[in-house]
């Protein structure tokens, strides 16, 4: 496929690998933010081709991983109700809540369905006026335009039986939280290309300047990742910081204005708790008051659901770059993709699942 195959070319990737080896003179720790990038690193063995001096740590950019446990429990509580048709992206179904998950609700007779797009959920609400259709609207800035459009369309169509259970999160406040953490070890960032395709990268510039770190907006194919890592290392070795754009074929400094405009109309910034990390100020989106009718948390009274996290899971330390999945005592034994204890073992974007699938032991 054009724009895919050539970015997996062995000769081209080899040039960057050799250049990286020739460049590095001392140890560096770089974080890739996005779980899709973690997956590429593991799937193509890029982590094994880098010099030993370069440590890649895996950031919190996995929506499945950071959606608060309370919200999973609320999703389960709503999905169990008679008359509710609960819809979600597929990888949220197996995320463990305090005592159950959505797949178990479905197995016990709940109407839980997988949607590829939030617009599929709007369509279901149109053809099932007898049901309350709820969409589990999780994700980063990349997914916000789709969820905003679903709400916008539902409002336009006057759908009284559609709502979203929302837990949107934003990348820049999370980077800020990682960099201000007293035991931070991340020196440079491979920034998330698809988040920036929507939002642009102006927001990242003051953060990079304030903390004196390089950030390279990077794509998702092996050649993208290697070039992004190469550019980050060039900046680190040269003592430079600031934001650069490796993924210019899809990302501009201002992002996608049409998408940002609708996101802005439907959502407003709020504080959000991140699973494994905790509360990060200004790190999420919630529906604006004028769209409150589409807020599932208001429609179904689920605020009293209390959550109880497993004491074994070290997801927070992994997503902050402090630990690797293999340092978790439950990794691969008590916690596997088939029976996950922690959220990063569930999704293909989760660092633990990627380590497990691609047999990383380090």
């Amino acid at each position: 496929m054009k724009f895919i195959d050539e970015y997996r070319d062995e000769v081209a990737t080899g040039t960057f690998i050799r250049a990286i080896h020739a460049l590095v003179t001392r140890p560096w720790t770089i974080m890739e933010i996005c779980g899709g990038q973690t997956n590429t690193l593991m799937k193509f063995g890029i982590d094994r081709l880098l010099p030993d001096a370069v440590t890649m740590v895996h950031g919190p950019g996995c929506p499945v991983c950071v959606t608060p446990l309370e919200l999973i429990d609320r999703a389960v509580a709503i999905a169990r109700r008679p008359g509710v048709l609960f819809t979600s992206f597929g990888d949220m179904l197996r995320v463990p809540g305090s005592e159950s998950d959505l797949l178990t609700v479905k197995a016990r007779g709940g109407d839980v369905r997988i949607c590829y797009s939030p617009l599929d959920a709007v369509k279901l609400a149109r053809i099932h006026p007898e049901s309350e259709v709820v969409f589990f609207a999780v994700g980063f800035e990349t997914t916000a335009p789709a969820n905003a459009m679903a709400v916008w369309q539902a409002a336009r169509l006057g759908l009284g039986n559609f709502s979203i259970l929302t837990s949107h999160v934003l990348v820049p406040p999370a980077i800020e939280a990682i960099l201000t953490s007293p035991d931070n070890r991340v020196q440079g960032f491979v920034a998330p290309g698809h988040v920036c395709a929507v939002m642009g990268f102006r927001e990242y510039e003051p953060i990079a300047l304030r903390h004196g770190v390089p950030m390279v907006v990077t794509g998702f194919e092996p050649l993208d990742l290697l070039q992004g890592i190469y550019m980050t290392l060039l900046a680190l070795e040269g003592g430079r910081f600031g934001v650069e754009n490796q993924y210019a074929r899809a990302v501009t400094r201002d992002g996608n204005m049409a998408a940002r405009d609708l996101v802005e109309r439907v959502f407003e910034v709020c504080d959000r708790p991140w699973r494994g990390i905790g509360m990060i100020p200004g790190s999420g989106y919630r529906l604006r008051p004028e769209f409150a009718a589409f807020d599932a948390e208001k429609r179904f009274e689920v605020a009293d659901v209390t959550a109880c996290e497993s004491s074994l899971c070290i997801a927070g330390d992994i997503m902050k770059g402090r630990k690797k999945p293999r340092q978790c005592p439950a990794f691969g034994s008590l916690c596997t993709p088939e029976r996950p204890i922690g959220a990063p073992m569930v999704s293909s974007e989760g660092a633990c699942a990627a380590y497990y699938h691609y047999a990383r032991t380090g």
């Binding site: 081209a12 050799r18 590829y116 698809h194 395709a197 210019a248 074929r249 996608n256």
Partner: protein
Amino acid sequence: MTQGKVSFGGITKDVCLAYVPGVVVGDYVVVHVGFAISRIDENEAAEVFRLLEEMNETAELKIPQPS
């Protein structure tokens, strides 16, 4: 809300094109959860291969030539 068909290496899906105004048949787009979020800039896409050529040329110059 503009919809279009996008081929993913042969598999065709209906995709919302509301966020890529001006997109035309034959363009390449980045699709996320059924929405095109960016149009691929072909000129920028070729940039890395121009850089790789330069890097390879520089690397060749560095190889000691037999005298």
